[in-house]
Symmetry: none
Subunit: 166 residues, 4 copies
């Protein structure tokens, strides 16, 4: 809290005029981050047509939010989640469900079209892990571009008919 206050340029005690507790700040960060990424994803989905492209868009979006745009906030979301008490977690649940539903809808369509072969809920969980873990190793300065990373992550999920044809 003191570090946060210093960064803003106020005293730590003053933070409590705006937020009742550290938990509330945390909850707000998580809320705002989910809301922002929800909008970004909807936008990106609207700009892509095919299911495969939409899936690629989701993956790229989530990678960008973790590795570029809102990395720090996403780290909070991914790792400080436990720090929230039940009540605060509940308050976020609806938002989180909306966000996850976006994924599950696309994955369900892909599953129906046999583009993917793993049950959507499970696949989403596996992808969540693969994507969120990138925060621990991905270096933007390295050889792998974000788009290539998204492409490779997508290829994990997909059946590989197309590739075999090549």
């Amino acid at each position: 809290m003191r570090d946060l206050a210093k960064e803003i340029g106020i005293q730590s005690g003053s933070l409590f005029h705006h937020y009742a507790s550290k938990q509330e700040i945390l909850r707000n960060v998580v809320e705002q981050t989910i809301l922002l990424n929800l909008e970004l994803m909807k936008l990106s989905l609207g700009q892509n047509e095919g299911i495969e492209d939409k899936l690629h868009a989701l993956i790229l979006c989530e990678l960008q939010s973790i590795l570029v745009d809102t990395g720090a906030e996403m780290a909070v979301l991914v790792y400080e989640w436990r720090g929230l008490n039940e009540q605060n977690q509940a308050q976020i649940l609806t938002l989180r469900d909306n966000y996850e539903q976006l994924w599950l809808d696309i994955l369900a369509q892909a599953y129906a079209q046999k583009i993917i072969s793993i049950e959507p809920t499970l696949l989403r969980r596996l992808l969540t892990g693969a994507i969120s873990w990138t925060i621990n190793w991905y270096k933007p300065s390295g050889d792998l571009t974000l788009d290539e990373l998204a492409q490779q992550t997508l290829s994990l999920a997909l059946k590989s008919e197309k590739k075999l044809e090549i």
Copy 2:
């Protein structure tokens, strides 16, 4: 430290008779856990012949260590890693490298045989994320058995020739 001591049934000060610091305890947990899992994996690799089976064995082993055997310790390994200072991290690095090399060797062979199509280092990273994330959602009491989970995770990694043949 006080909670840990209480769980053991001694006073917090007594812990320091056995370990010089919290860091040393942490380092020992990590070390022992890696060593144990290294042995379990070698054993399991020895009991499987084909590369695909070996890969399945690795995945199952890591899932078991996270979700069953040494879950708490693995959580320390995955999430408390940052808590170790440079010196202690260095002491563990060799062990960790040995462990990862086991994965990379198998993945390299699979890549050479075109069983997988993602470059081994990258694939390992994606799998690390997918597997370690299970700690956040997998419930042993649910429908999905550990072996099924391993099978599905394996299918992520594999090209899908076989499935196409069916």
Copy 3:
């Protein structure tokens, strides 16, 4: 720290709102004490003319600061000196040098005038010991007044021509 806080009437944690560490408190005590005594000495030197009188003034001043005015603080200065780390000791060094220079200047003049016969640096060291040790035995309630003590201590330092004349 807890005792100190209790004496002030606050909680021990509150001390750290005013000072970053125990060392900083220690350093401040030492600094303020030296500064105060420096001023007191300059004042006293200004009120005395002859070298012998000035020397007497210095001795009396130092005795007063140890035995009356700032006894506790001087005890810190004399005995807790080792508790300060290098950096903090360095911060005080200049002040301390100023203080000692006052002594050495007077002693150098006395030496030049052959009022004293021991080399000033050494004599100062011997006097420092003799004076600071008084904290271990002097009782204000006893027969010896502070002024008499100063007089006797002065007589240690002086050649004794005058006394011989008597």
Copy 4:
């Protein structure tokens, strides 16, 4: 206690078979040190004839015990004195008195012979401070030999008839 035990080569707990407490060790160190120095002083006094020479011997002896022979123990004696409780201090008192009496006897004779002009008890106290303080500044590797230091310290105490004659 742990450091002390380590130096001896036993466990810290084992120290308590030989001494009931840290205080007792401290008391023994002080006792033995006083006894040793008492003997050394008696010996040295026996080897010198005139009062002035005897006084010089006492000063040299005490300087040697502080700066050379039993420096560490003397540091304990000088500075850890406060660490002893009343009971332990009382147990040492007789020894300490014997030691001090040696000084006071010589000083009394010197006072009677008008070799010194400060009352013995007070002079002893001033000398105690001057001598014990040397532990904070004297470097054996420097220009000043121990004998010269003793000579200069002696000259503090003495009236300076002789010097005037020169």
